[in-house]
């Protein structure tokens, strides 16, 4: 008789130490079904938003996620500006683009480091995080804070940056491009990584569409969608860049998309620093008329979506937030079933799931309900597989 074992992963995720709960049903080493439970961190931000004034909400929603703390407020602000018919000064559009791309660079580089760690490449982890540090310093110089930038506001931006800072931004971007070039080549040329990540955790194009996934998760499966191009906001129409897509949908493709996107973001930041016009950074918005609108922004993990309805008072009557991981995480069902337990960790990590936005994983024997693996053991399983492959390849 075939025996199915239940593997609970969480409520603390083995990879990112945030609260989300996955239950894997396994037969031997093979995953046959899975189940996700979330909302261990539900903070009721949508409800809270209804109790705040329109201009207080950006400071609330940038706390939806520490990494996407530029994307969430911007999506909200764009929806409100749409209701009020506000025309934002061009300098503010460039400032918004600059901060949002710096955010993408630091998020993608953070992911490259984490992904390296999960498959036992701890040098990649150390390098990536070292190169990420100057980006956080730049964010501090431009917005005053490494995270929760409080940069955008309804009508424009809160803080201007000195034009004297622009040469430094361009210099830092050139340096990062050099480092990333080295790191990208080291990753893409490594035969063990090819063997370890290609064909693993495949999300087919059809499944990507069925699960409505967004961001690098969609683009790695050949679905060429990117809000920056599809519904241009800020200054994305005014700078040159291209969408990065891959066709295979595996973990390797997701890594390639993020690595190459980092270079596109570097290009965008440099163009912003070179082309930013002078002028005011905000217009005054006195009141928000009744109405409704949606605002969406391409966050590092995909489309961040906000819907706002105003009834003419100074507070939103409804504010709906949908973070990208909310649609990307359910696609695990398509990409993890059929995989082995040692590949599940990296497959989940490849989506770059963000739990503060969405939200744990466990390996349990279905009969005895006994817990089989802890989070650390799952990372060890993943690292062991890489080590075995390395030894077999004689590296």
């Amino acid at each position: 008789m075939r025996k199915t074992t239940l593997i609970p992963i969480g409520p603390y995720h083995p990879l990112q130490e945030e609260a989300e709960f996955f239950q894997l049903y396994v037969e031997g080493e093979k995953v046959v079904d899975m189940d996700v439970r979330l909302s261990y961190n539900h903070r009721g931000i949508e409800r809270l938003s209804e109790s705040m004034t329109f201009d207080q909400v950006p400071f609330l929603v940038e706390r939806v996620c520490g990494i996407c703390s530029a994307s969430h407020p911007l999506a909200y602000i764009q929806a409100v500006e749409d209701i009020a018919g506000v025309k934002v000064p061009e300098r503010a559009l460039y400032l918004r683009t600059l901060v949002n791309e710096l955010e993408r660079i630091h998020s993608h580089v953070l992911w490259v480091g984490l992904a390296g760690h999960f498959i036992g490449y701890n040098t990649v982890w150390m390098w990536a995080w070292k190169y990420r540090e100057p980006i956080l310093d730049l964010l501090e110089k431009t917005t005053g804070s490494r995270i929760n930038y409080a940069n955008a506001m309804i009508g424009g931006c809160r803080r201007d940056i000195s034009n004297d800072l622009m040469p430094l931004i361009i210099k830092e971007m050139d340096e990062l491009a050099g480092h990333m070039d080295m790191l990208t080549k080291a990753i893409l040329d490594d035969p063990v990584l090819h063997a370890r990540l290609k064909g693993v955790g495949v999300l087919s194009k059809a499944d990507a569409i069925r699960y409505c996934v967004t961001g690098p998760t969609a683009r790695a499966s050949g679905v060429a969608i990117d809000v920056r191009r599809d519904d241009p906001y800020a200054a994305y129409e005014l700078v040159e860049w291209k969408i990065i897509t891959q066709e295979t949908g595996d973990v390797f493709a997701k890594a390639v998309v993020r690595l190459l996107e980092t270079f596109e973001s570097i290009k965008i930041v440099k163009q912003c620093a070179a082309k930013i016009p002078g002028g005011p950074i905000a217009v005054e918005v006195r009141e928000i008329p009744p109405g409704e609108a949606v605002g969406h922004v391409e966050a590092p993990r995909g489309e961040t979506f906000h819907y706002v309805r105003s009834d003419g008072t100074n507070r939103p009557v409804r504010h709906k937030i949908r973070a990208p991981s909310y649609v990307n995480v359910p696609s695990f069902k398509a990409s993890c079933i059929g995989a082995t337990i040692s590949d599940v960790a990296i497959t989940m990590a490849a989506v770059d799931p963000c739990y503060s936005c969405t939200e744990r994983m466990a390996v349990v024997d279905r009969g005895s309900r006994k817990r089989l693996y802890t989070g650390e053991e799952l990372i060890r399983l993943s690292e062991d597989k890489t080590r075995r492959m390395r030894e077999e390849a004689g590296i």
Binding site: S39, R47, D82, C212, A293
Partner: protein
Amino acid sequence: MIDMLAELRTSHGSRILGAEHGSPRQTFVTVSDSDAPTIARHISEKMGGRLVTITGLDTPDGIELLYHFAFDANHSLLTLKTRVKKPDPRILSLAPHLPGAEWIEREIHDLLGVVFEGHPRLERLILADDWPAGVHPLRKDEQQ
């Protein structure tokens, strides 16, 4: 940019109760609750709309459901609005045809108490296991 509203009018003209453009790229279309799931499926399956999410919103006249679709290649957004009546709000589920709708329908079921008929697994997603049954935090009457 193709006018998605015009396209929807040719296929479902008699069922559209109201339509308005927010900004040039945003369209809001109102339909009845019995038509909404069919039209939402049509948008997703025939017109290539990507379901972004569904917003649930409690009003004195019922619970409004807003199906947000993105037409990425067409650079536009379309929101399909409908309203289900209280005290027993129900509507046909999209989830059997579109797995991307599974979580958000469970979330709206938790927070607003809308029953999505035919949903493959209408279990709790947001609320804790020990949360009292029948209490929906986003209902305005709960908040008072």
